[in-house]
């Protein structure tokens, strides 16, 4: 395993997820979804389903999922994280790719 990389995705631009999916498997990649980017976590979203099948780690901000009433619509493989865990994740990763 290479370095830990965080795709920190706060916008509704699918490009961030596409870039993450194309990221080298040598690195330990986590995709973190916040704000309206949490809609990408919807089970019917193809890009995220594909990323999960590729064994990329995907987390989503729990508060933003809950406000939007999405908890029943997202895959079990997506880890819900609170703000404190998000801060830990940010400092654990050596590279942050903001989108």
């Amino acid at each position: 395993m290479g370095k830990k990389v965080l795709y920190f995705i706060t916008s509704e631009d699918i490009t961030g997820i596409e870039l993450a999916m194309e990221h080298s498997d040598d690195d330990d990649v986590t995709i973190l979804l916040l704000q309206n980017a949490v809609y990408f976590a919807n089970k019917s979203n193809k890009a995220v389903t594909q990323a999960l099948n590729q064994n990329k780690k995907i987390s989503a901000c729990k508060e933003h999922i809950d406000t939007r009433g999405l908890s029943n619509f997202i895959s079990d493989k997506i880890k819900l994280v609170d703000n404190s865990e998000i801060i830990d994740l940010i400092f654990e990763c050596e590279t942050i790719i903001n989108m």
Binding site: N36, Y39, N42, G69, L70, N72, F73
Partner: protein, 114 residues
């Protein structure tokens, strides 16, 4: 003049992260004094009407619109695209086939997007 105008308030953005759909409903309420606006819901705005969404800002407007017998119409195609069904939605809205949604927009005098 006012009686002839068919106004469509078109909600298209997701319910949180922006205030657009809630402002759209507020506009439906405001405009209802002079017109009979139809609220049409497409794309990610359909998420504003799922059962579990936080409706702190929404419920007052939705209730008002229901009480004065105005329609909130959901585009079935937008639901299908998002893997949502009637059961996921609250009761105060009505699902319409995409063609009906198109006809309603086509027959409007003005469509106002939010």
């Amino acid at each position: 003049m006012s009686e002839e105008k068919n106004i469509v308030i078109l909600l298209r953005q997701p319910p949180h992260g922006t205030l657009y759909p809630v402002e759209g409903l507020r506009m439906t309420v405001a405009v209802s004094a002079d017109f009979d606006p139809i609220t049409v819901v497409i794309n990610d705005a359909v998420f504003a009407f799922i059962k579990d969404v936080d409706k702190t800002m929404y419920s007052m407007h939705i209730e008002f619109i229901r009480n004065i017998d105005l329609d909130i119409l959901i585009d079935k195609k937008s639901l299908d695209d998002r893997g949502l069904t009637k059961d996921d939605l609250i009761d105060d809205v009505e699902i319409k086939e995409h063609q009906e949604i198109l006809d309603i927009i086509a027959n409007s005098t003005v469509t106002i997007p939010f």
